[in-house]
Amino acid sequence: MAYIEVARVAKSFVTSGGAAREVLSDVSLSVERGEFVSILGTMGCGKSTLLKILAGLVPADSGRVTVAGEVVRGVRPSAAIVFQNYSLLPWFSALENVRLAVSAAFPDWPREQQREQAVRHLRSVGLGDAVDRRPGQLSGGMRQRVAIARAFAIEPEILFLDEPFGALDALTRDSLQQELARLCSDAGRPITTVMITNSVEEALLLSDRILPMTAGPRATLGAPVAVELGKPRSASELLHGDQAAEVRGRVLGLLTEELERARGARRSGAPAPAVTLALRVAPEME
C-alpha cells in the first residue's frame, strides 16, 4: 500500500442558489513515500479542494484518504501546508510566524531551541536579515519564503503545496522553485510532497510524477506521467533536453485533449474552463 492513498473521493459544494455542485468525482491516486507528485490542472478545476481533502482541512463526501495506513481525520502533526496566499499572520514578525509553528510542533523543546530552529530555517531561505520584519514589510516573494521556512521548520514528513508560486512574478517564481527543489534535497530525509499547480514547467522542474486533472465540475485525475529525470534539474536541461521535451509533449497532449473535451462540453452547456493554462504554456513551447 502506498504512503498516501486516495480511493474514489468525491466532494460537492452547495452553491448560493442551494443546488449541489459536484466539484470532484471519483478521484483516486497514490503517492509513494518520498515522492514528489504534482497535480496539474486549469484554474477552478477543484485541485485545491482535492489538496485540502488530502491535508485533512476539508472532509470528503465519500471515498477514503489514508496516510501511512491511517484514515485522515484533520491535519496530521507531520504535515505542513504552503498556501498560494502565504497565510502569514500580519501582526507577527517573520520570526514570530515561524516560531509559532515550531512551538506548536515541538512543545517540549526549550524556548531557545525553538527560536534557533526558526532562525535557521529563515536563514536557509535567505531571510536571515529580515527576521524581525512583519509580512506587510516584505515583498510577495519574501513572504512566500517565510511560509516555506515555516513549513520546513516543523520538519515535516509530508508537504502539501497549494499553488505555492501562483501569486508571484515570473522571475521570483523561478528562483523560489529552484530553492524549493534545493530545500527538499537538503532535508536529509524523504519528504513526500503533493503540489498543486497550473504550470507545466513548474511540474516538470520539481516532480517525479505529474497527474493531469480534468476540468471541473466533476473533475477527476487523468493517467499519470512519470518524469524520469535526475534531480536537481537545470533550466537549460528542461528547455533543451530531449527527455524533458518528450514528457512535456505527453503532458500537454493530455491537457490539450482535456481542453478539447471541455470545449465540447461547453458547447453543450457546461461552464467554460479557464484558459490560463493555455496562456501559461504557450511561450514555453516556442
Partner: protein, 253 residues
Amino acid sequence: MKRVADFLLPAVGVVLALIVWWATSTVVPDLPSPMKTWEESKIYILKPLEKRGEMDQGIALLAYYSLMRVARGFLLGIAIGTPLGFLLGMSKTLTRVFDPIMQVIRPISPLAWLPLGLVIFQKSEPAALFAIAVCSMWPTVINTMAGVRAIPQDYWNVARVLRLSRFTTFAKVVVPATLPYMFTGFRLSLGIAWLVIVASEMLTGTPGVGGFLWQEYNSLIYAHILLAILTIGVVGFVLDRLMGLAEARLRAI
C-alpha cells in the same frame, strides 16, 4: 495658505455659533449672552482646581470626578462586553440564544436603568456605574462579535495547519485579528459612557459636571449651565480624539 485656512475656517464656525448664541440671548431673556456666561464662569475656568464647596469647585475638578466615574463604568462595561463579544462571535448557538435579549436591552435609555440600579444597589454611586456599564457595553459587544466573524478563513487555516491549541489560537490569532474591531467598539462605548454620565449625575446629584449642571439650574444660575454644557462637549471631543489616535495606531499594524 493651507495652514491659514485650516485655522481660519473652524474659527469662522466658532464665531458664527457665538453670534447665533448672542442673538438668541437677546430674544430669550433668561439665556445669558456669551459675555455674561464668561463673566459668571471665569472663576471656574481660571481657578480650575479650586475646591470651594461640594458642588462649587473648579471646572477641571468637576470634570475629573465625572471622568473617573466614566472610567469605572466604562471599564466595567468593556470588561463584560469584550468576553461576551468573543463568545457570541465564536458561537452561532449563543448568538441565537442571546440576540433577542440584546436587541431589547440595547435601546433602553440610561434614564430608565438608573432607578433600577438604585433599587438594586441602594446607593447612587454603584447605580451610576451600573447604568454607564449597561448602556455603554453594546458597541463593544457588537464590534468584537463582528470582528471575530470577520476573521479571514486564511487565519483559521493557519491555526488548523499549525495545530495550535485552543488557547494559542485564541491568544495568537483570534485576539490580534479582532483588536481593531474591538477598539472601534471601545471608542463608541466610551462616547456613550460620557453621554450617560451627565444623566446619571443629574439624577443622583453626585459631584461632577452633570451634578453641577443640575444644581446650578436649580439655583437659577443659568450661565453655569452653559459652562457645564461646553465642558461636556470639549471633554467628549478630546476623549474621542484620544481613542481615535489609539485606534489608528492599532490599524497601522
